[in-house]
Symmetry: C2
């Protein structure tokens, strides 16, 4: 028996994919940067076929682009794509917000407050990695309250797609602080059973990161795209 219990391979695949996802989101891996299977394999101490599955997962999420015999590279989203994705996100997230039963259960509130305290702490100490995780957890918990897991799944998948577009905001203190405030306001709206306010907050919560990304993109590469 090994000292460390041997994980099921499915779990290892997920783990590798998650770490790579974070590194893309946080901008440690730049667009166009290639993902070399063997390098990743040795880094995570897994076999190459595990890395292959993880990369396939990232491809499905839209974070990475694969070309036959040329491998995978971090994907670059065009401003148009970003706009389209955010447009659908807005529709789905407001839809979910409209379906959250009000008043929410005390447990749901407690969970959100719990997560949000972690998020606030991460923002406080400038830990963008923990901030990213807590942010994702908050949105999952919030929209999870709508009671339709399939809707939540779609929201998650769309959020994942633009994660790559968030490296510009995920490390920016101003945006992080703003997100934190938004989250607290959402919790207040839930407590007050103010659906209109909640929906509005969800909608407005999306714009800043979208606009920041598009602006920085157009600045770097010109207005085309």
């Amino acid at each position: 028996m090994d000292g460390v219990e041997r994980q099921a391979s499915a779990a290892r695949v997920k783990q590798v994919a998650n770490v790579l996802e974070e590194e893309i989101v946080l901008g440690w891996l730049q667009p166009r940067e290639r993902l070399i299977e063997e390098d990743i394999a040795s880094r995570f101490e897994v076999k190459r076929h595990v890395v292959r599955e993880a990369i396939a997962e990232l491809e499905r999420m839209g974070l990475v682009e694969r070309v036959q015999n040329k491998g995978a590279a971090v994907r670059m989203l065009s401003p148009t794509e970003v706009r389209q994705i955010y447009s659908v996100r807005e529709a789905l997230e407001t839809l979910a917000a409209q379906q959250i039963p009000l008043p929410p259960s005390p447990e749901a509130i407690d969970l959100l407050v719990d997560i949000q305290e972690q998020h606030a702490a991460a923002v406080e100490r400038g830990d963008s990695r923990a901030g990213f995780r807590a942010n994702m957890a908050f949105h999952n918990a919030l929209f999870g309250a709508c009671g339709n897991p399939h809707l939540v799944e779609l929201i998650q998948s769309l959020a994942q797609k633009v994660h790559g577009a968030r490296s510009y905001t995920a490390a920016n203190p101003v945006h992080l602080a703003r997100a934190r405030d938004d989250h607290w306001a959402m919790i207040e709206a839930l407590k007050a059973s103010d659906r209109e306010k909640l929906v509005q907050l969800c909608r407005e919560h999306l714009s800043p990161s979208r606009d920041t990304y598009i602006a920085s993109l157009e600045q770097r590469f010109g207005k085309a795209g």
Copy 2:
């Protein structure tokens, strides 16, 4: 040089996945039925790792379920899941219908008419396989006109998830005829630039297959689930 040009493996994976998808949808593969990797591999004359990727794809689509060391089996959707998925489908498809620019381009109409003629012909001669394909093509073309590929992608993925629930309707002449009539009506609404009618048609188009599936499921397994 081979007589048949050798396909890229990515294409072969897709092809295998598509055929298996059809067989699940048409009920040739029953729920709980296992998918044996080697059998499939020899049937399609591909290597096992190709089959594995294809099955992983089906798992992502939600058509099969995988268990560690036990393989994949056709997935059974509970009535609750079906209801939840259709609820999101309705939201997304009406959303897309609302975004289709009116009046539509003549080319778009021509394309839809073209596809729909194939669909009608398939219904006429009772070819459920061709009917399934044409039906899918019609919906892709229709919602594709909304101009947001990411929205279309979500609609497709949701449709795929409940494909397995459609084996009851996909082979039923009454339902096929009804779908055919609905499609023609949609084309008419497009021609008339009658958005309200179009949206209504899209919404009502979904109910029959959902209700039929749920009813047959509850009849077979009782009202639980």
